[in-house]
Amino acid sequence: MSLRIVVCVKYVPDATGDRRFAEDTTTDRDAVDGLLSELDEYGVEQALRIAEASGDAEVTVLTVGPDDAKDALRKALSMGADKAVHVNDDDIHGTDVIGTSAILAKAIEHTGFDLVVCGMASTDGTMGVVPALLAERLGVPQVTLLSEVTVADGTVTGRRDGDAATELLQAALPAVVSVTDQSGEARYPSFKGIMAAKKKPVTALDLDDLGLDAGQVGLAGAWTAVQSVTARPARTAGTVVKDEGEGGTQLAAFLAAQKFI
């Protein structure tokens, strides 16, 4: 039977835009354009490479997000994924990472999987805990933060490059992996890929389809509550050290005052 790969992708606000928060302290999605999280492009790329190497695999991209999140799916499909699943429900608004992982896990089970591929973190939330939460919820092994990953004979093998050591890791499928931005440059959608993406199936699911209750997710169901948000103060001109012979001493004094040295 063919290898079923599910890639979790997130639709995030463009980091080069002017990102803001809405009144309920959630991300203001109207204020800025969204896109497929750059870190998830690495996940899509690795899934496609595994699929190409296996010769008999199907890559499904999965997102939980509002209507516009279909753009992230479309991009992943144009890169070469076979089909997409979009979980979209008004009640999902404000869901935290615990709730998101619950929705993703249900949707992955609903789709069927041998391997789940995630990026190392989202470029907006940057928590990087979804892969571990998913593995726990799905009851399968997790092999995270890989810079190299291959699948053969029902086993996923990967390399994790740490500060102190490089680890070679293995797990029996089904499993969850996450890949880093060192795993290999993500491909650009080709013209043919873009044209083909339009015709690929996108399944829409809501909380009912997944057997989830609105109370388990959303802003009210979140385990954490954001009380207030404050914009980072604008950058100031900074301190200019004029070197009149004892510039080095002044620099050292400044760094010491900031507790850097």
Binding site: S78, F191, K192, K198
Partner: protein
């Protein structure tokens, strides 16, 4: 009373996605070398590699021959986005279309298979050989001869200003087969770089598009099999002109891209540059210049896209639209890039900033594939 799904006068979602994809590719893989390619007047190999890796080097080739089968508007978008960061590099996809379109339009099935397939696979680029030292605007005054000899044609002559000469594997060559019939006595042929008797002149030393090689091509008793003729004998000039109807739109696309690159850069600069205690963007004199630049660019873009749609449909008024788009967009690009240099003041005049390069690159779009004077002759003869 708005309806967001009103789909006239906007390009499709797929075309926008293509623009996004080519823009990120061009910014990451082509832009970093643009200044160096210009400075050293060297071939933009990095751009060719990036375009090949992403199947963007010749997107116009139909799917039957292994190509991407992109429509004329998609082609325009690819060229626009490459030219936005490096005009020299944009001649790779543009001239692949120019060189091979005679085969697409008039070649027989065997010739199409033989030459479009390797082009699509990235095994060889295609050049277009029409101009000669004594035959520029008056292209029908060419002297290059092709004489029939049994199952072969024998070519002799000189073509000048041939883009990608020496780099391309394949050359569409227009040559006189019946000197008594002027334009109706011209035929088109495919010549290969490796055919004995083909050689190249020294690279021209140009004002702009310095990364795009322009050389003479010499044909010294070049014997080619008779089946290398493109279409029937005597139809070569008509094929060459029909080709230009379509490809002038790609020159318009280059002009748009160069102008967009200049406008984007200048727009950012005026926000940062402070004089008289404020950003120069706050002066109305500067704002009016930017407004004019954006207006001209957008008008040129709309005309070019309308022309591209006509190219795809092969509408009856394509000849007028192709000439109009090329002429208008290239004139606009020259004005916009000149004004963009002005907005940077002295800095714009130096090679530390990309604008003087863009201004030099814009100039060629008013000259090749028929000067803008010639475009006006074409338009006047084909008034809508």
């Amino acid at each position: 009373m708005s309806s967001k799904d009103f789909d006239l006068f906007r390009i499709s979602e797929e075309h926008e996605m293509l623009r996004d994809a080519v823009r990120s590719l061009a910014e990451a893989k082509i832009a970093p070398f643009a200044a160096e390619v210009d400075e050293q007047a060297r071939f933009p190999q990095e751009a060719l590699d990036a375009l090949l890796a992403n199947d963007l080097h010749a997107v116009h080739v139909p799917e039957e021959y292994g190509g991407a089968g992109a429509d004329a508007l998609a082609m325009v978008i690819v060229i626009e986005e490459v030219a936005r960061v490096c005009a020299s590099s944009s001649l790779i996809p543009a001239v692949n279309k120019l060189g091979s379109l005679p085969v697409v339009l008039s070649g027989d099935e065997a010739l199409k298979h033989r030459y479009l397939t390797p082009l699509a696979r990235g095994e060889g680029m295609f050049s277009y050989c029409l101009s000669e030292p004594e035959a520029g605007s008056d292209a029908a005054g060419m002297k290059t001869r092709a004489v029939r000899d049994g199952d072969h044609w024998v070519l002799n002559g000189v073509k000048r200003w041939i883009t990608n000469a020496g780099v391309s594997e394949f050359y569409t060559v227009m040559a006189v087969t019946d000197p008594d019939k002027r334009s109706k006595g011209i035929s088109a042929f495919v010549v290969e770089k490796s055919d004995p008797g083909v050689s190249f002149g020294a690279p021209e030393r140009k004002l702009g598009i310095k990364g795009s090689p322009t050389r003479e091509v010499y044909f010294d008793n070049v014997r080619i099999p008779a089946d290398r003729i493109i279409g029937a004998e005597g139809t070569g000039f008509a094929t060459a002109m029909r080709t230009l109807d379509h490809t002038r739109i790609t020159i318009a696309a280059q002009a748009l891209g160069i102008a967009q690159g200049a406008l984007d850069y200048a727009k950012g600069y005026v926000r940062e540059r402070k004089q008289f205690g404020k950003a120069i963007a706050e002066f109305q004199g500067i704002q009016f210049m930017l407004a004019d630049m954006a207006m001209k660019l957008e008008a040129a873009r709309q005309l070019t896209y309308a022309a591209a749609a006509r190219s795809q449909r092969e509408d009856g008024d394509l000849t007028f639209f192709g000439a109009a788009a090329k002429c208008f967009a290239s004139d606009a690009a020259m004005e916009i890039t000149t004004d963009a240099v002005q907005l940077l003041g002295g800095y714009g005049y130096t090679r530390d900033y990309p604008l003087e390069r863009m201004m030099r690159d814009a100039k060629i779009t008013q000259i090749y594939e028929g000067t803008n004077q010639v475009q006006r002759i074409v338009m006047a003869r084909n008034l809508p």
